[in-house]
């Protein structure tokens, strides 16, 4: 396949960026999108040019490091992560636009790399349980009803990639935060911090400068892990409950 790429290039956080056009040839349909970018970078390095910086780690769709807005879609046209997106989703001769996540809470570091440490700080604010660490406990020590276990698991699938923020016209982190809150709040292990977790994580989310939710649903459409839109309503419910309880105290 022969492709024309228009890629966002930006030297550093302070510099102005712009789209640059590159031609790549000899791309196989079986390559992943990131392998296609590797091909481009090898050529750039041989020419003595600066390779395109992009984030990646596991390349198997589980770590949440890869990003990229491809032709206006976070993680591209398929419902998967960019590392699991294959070139067979494109046609020979296509022009593909590649841009970084856009949100004021995710400033561009270089080219296609953005700083997603705002997510880390939301997790630090309450995305954990206070449990003794050590050897794994006996699996049946704490019974969890099946529907709750399923609900928790569905939300535990979030890999923290930030596609939800990138896709949201308001740069809102509600889907990510709701996935993390719901995952732990429904489980007995998460019960001791049920109220403080949602209040503190939402407080941190707001402090990071993410936008509010207008329920456009773009986030859930973009999410490679299928975190559903009603998760947000479930977190709203948790927040209102926690705020009511705090008022009674």
């Amino acid at each position: 396949m022969k492709l024309t790429l228009r890629v966002w290039r930006q030297k550093n956080a302070g510099a102005d960026g712009a789209m640059s056009t590159y031609e790549v040839d000899g791309i196989s349909q079986d390559m992943s999108f990131l392998e296609m970018l590797d091909t481009l970078n090898e050529e750039l390095i041989l020419k003595g040019e600066d390779p395109v910086a992009f984030d990646h780690d596991c390349r198997e769709g589980i770590c949440g490091a890869c990003s990229l807005v491809i032709n206006g879609d976070a993680h591209g046209p398929e419902r998967t992560t960019t590392c699991q997106l294959h070139m067979r989703s494109f046609e020979d001769g296509d022009t593909i636009d590649v841009e970084p996540w856009r949100a004021s809470a995710f400033p561009v570091v270089k080219d296609l790399v953005v700083d997603r440490s705002a997510f880390d700080r939301i997790i630090q604010a309450g995305g954990y349980i206070t449990a003794p660490t050590g050897a794994a406990p006996e699996a049946h020590a704490t019974p969890v009803p099946k529907p709750d276990a399923d609900f928790a698991f569905e939300h535990a699938e979030c890999i923290g990639c930030g596609a939800c923020v990138a896709a949201c016209p308001n740069g809102s982190a509600m889907l990510f935060t709701s996935a993390k809150v719901n995952h732990l709040n429904v489980l007995p292990q998460g019960a001791p911090e049920r109220e403080t977790r949602v209040l503190d994580m939402v407080g941190q989310m707001d402090a990071e400068g993410f936008g509010g939710c207008t329920l456009t649903g773009e986030c859930a459409t973009a999410c490679p892990k299928g975190i559903p839109l009603p998760s947000i309503a479930a977190m709203n419910k948790e927040w209102l409950r926690a705020n009511r309880k705090a008022a009674k105290r």
């Binding site: 630090q124 989310m205 936008g211 509010g212 309503a233 479930a234 927040w239 209102l240």
Partner: protein
Amino acid sequence: MRSLAPTVISMALATRPVKGTAPGKRPSPARSLWDSTIGKKTVMAVSGLIMLGYLVAHMLGNLKIFFGSDEFNGYAHWLRTIGEPLMHYEWTLWVIRVVLVAAVVLHAVSAYQLSRRDIKARPTKYVHRRKRASYATRTMRWGGIILALFIVWHILDLTTGTVHADGFEHGRPYQNVIDTFSTWYGNVIYIVAVTAVGLHVRHGFWSAAQTLGVGNARRERLLKTGANTLALVLTLGFVSVPVAVMTGVVS
């Protein structure tokens, strides 16, 4: 390996000082209701539902115009006597007015502040534009502005009579309504506004359910159908009055 340097910097960023509230130092529940995005959205949902409840009653009241001037004017008079003898003449009406003004102001201020925040959170547009589902958000914002302007015009037209077409008379609402809908601009403004109400309620009712945490996957169909029905009934109910005046059914 020039590109390594920024990576190192970005790792260092993860340890930059934490913004936000320190654990154990949470704002009071009342403060969070106004300061947090979820809280402010709750204020919008509750004030929106109060206005929605009022609109349903208002629409039903308007339909009385089909039963003649005596019934319509009598109904308008009754509105001023609700709660008597406990309440004095017009007291209840004033209570309703104060609640509604509070709802409109809280709703509009929250809408403005949240919209400002949302726009700031996403300052850079994507170069590759695609049809975004920000359709609902944009209709809510523009529709809201249309509604705000309409509310002002509507009160100056039919409550105070300040901008009324000709010969406004207090206590004779039947005639006043017919005057308004005998002008082309009266009809246009009104029909645009009630269409905006329909669109606003269509997304708003469902949104309010999500905001208040009563939405879930199982109730999705029910809430969406409810929102559509409510929007349609409200719009048709309101629109029937100018249409009836225009076609001479009510004169």
